[in-house]
Symmetry: C2
Subunit: 272 residues, 2 copies
């Protein structure tokens, strides 16, 4: 049993998961959070299940060895493909972003037709569609892989004609449908929310996992008696596997995140 | 000393280096070629020197352990950042793509003003500009990082309005200059040659490293007495670190490459 003062660990393939950290700081201001961005191997979204499982397992073992009392998979691709394996393997609670996103979509839709956008690997896994149908068998789901959005976000093209043209093409199927809720199934996408909203049209609500994920983490901590006392002062430490570039500063600024430390470390490989 | 029948090993972060393999097959039809694409960690172009050196060293050691008589770094980013380290470390000849690209650019320019496009890491290293100036001190060099081109190629958008819009923006500075040779400083870019040619304008010749790199490899093999006899039948074996997707078939088709085997293997980490 870990102490209540132990950190909550959050990981993502890159820096997009900081959108989840931002929601966690609001929901759980007293927690010590460690964020790991696997920037040496980013992106995960075009890679295979075996590779994504291996990377996720390496990182989760590393974070638990660092003392984490809970692991949050703030990456849709890793959540879609590696969550069952991490839950089997770890003896601390593990929360991903798929179930929280599904919950948000089901609250938002009235037509019963939900769309999901994500990386190739996330959409190919059908994790969102499966979870939506498991929760509500009559739901209709339109799933769209949008592989160019992560590179556009990482170039900082949040408001740009090129981004609009790419979104126009990806989201065209939604304009003639009765979809009324669109799941942003990648932690980078909230940074494109305005452009996505314009391309999707005003009849579609955008939903993301961050706030619901933070609430799910709070429930896990309460259920296991691991929540830090309200009097404690929360901190954030950031680890990258490759030195971050300027984009980190842009994102931290956009999210208003203060970090105690930013380190570069390597994650040990499995079975060595 | 390796036998003449030993393979020539070629590596890249992904599959772009197959453009170099295609030139090698033409130049050296009798060689056994092993191609390794590090698709589990692709792309390299936004990563740091330390990480790119480490990945390159891991792969080169692996390929020499597989019996390679020579290592060809068919990745501009790895050539720009890791070539000196690989040459120090390996006891087989190592050829990259920077010097061959520089040679091609110097043959092509009349104005003495050359442009280079590449990934952030390649352009940030200034490896092309330094090598161009070392070869011809009065040369003028315009270097442009074009980070969205690799994702566009990997989406297969060779001929597309979005690609044209992105190129239009990246290459705008060339339209009002006296640049007359443009180095395609990334092995993905030859697949966009038509679109790049349109955006650059008819006064600019496109040059890439592939043919010159293949000739440099032939010279190394001849100099060290390692060239396979003309009577031998060349073969190509491909290794990826992550299972390839459909794009491999597209590229192999475009390049007319027949492969004997395609395997997925892991590259052992250093110092384990």
């Amino acid at each position: 049993m870990k102490p209540v003062s132990a950190p909550v660990a959050v990981f993502d393939s890159g820096i997009g998961g900081l959108t989840v950290v931002s929601a966690l700081r609001r929901e759980l201001p007293g927690e010590h959070i460690i964020y790991l961005g696997d920037t040496a191997r980013v992106p995960y979204g075009g890679k295979s299940r075996a590779t994504i499982e291996r990377y996720s397992e390496e990182i989760a073992r590393f974070l638990v060895a660092e003392g984490a009392k809970m692991v949050v998979v703030a990456c849709n691709t890793a959540s879609a493909l590696a969550l069952p394996r991490l839950r089997d393997m770890l003896d601390v609670p593990v929360e991903g972003v798929i179930a929280p996103g599904v919950e948000a979509a089901l609250s938002a839709t009235r037509s019963g037709h939900v769309a999901v956008i994500g990386t190739k690997a996330t959409i190919g896994s059908s994790a969102y569609a499966d979870a939506l149908r498991a929760a509500r068998p009559d739901i209709r789901v339109t799933s769209l892989a949008c592989p160019l959005l992560v590179p556009l976000v990482e170039e900082g093209l949040f408001e740009d004609k090129v981004t609009d043209a790419v979104l126009e093409r990806y989201l065209a199927p939604l304009r003639t449908s009765d979809v009324d809720a669109l799941v942003l199934g990648c932690t980078h996408y909230p940074l494109l929310a305005s452009a996505i909203g314009r391309a999707a049209g005003p009849q579609i609500s955008l939903v993301d996992s961050a706030a619901n994920c933070a609430r799910a983490v709070a429930r896990h901590l309460d259920a296991s008696g691991l929540r830090a006392p309200a009097s404690s002062e929360g901190t954030l430490d950031i680890i990258f596997t490759d030195p971050p570039d300027n984009f980190l500063a842009v994102v931290r600024g956009a999210l208003g995140l203060e970090a105690g430390s930013v380190q570069v470390r390597q994650v040990p490989p499995l079975g060595q």
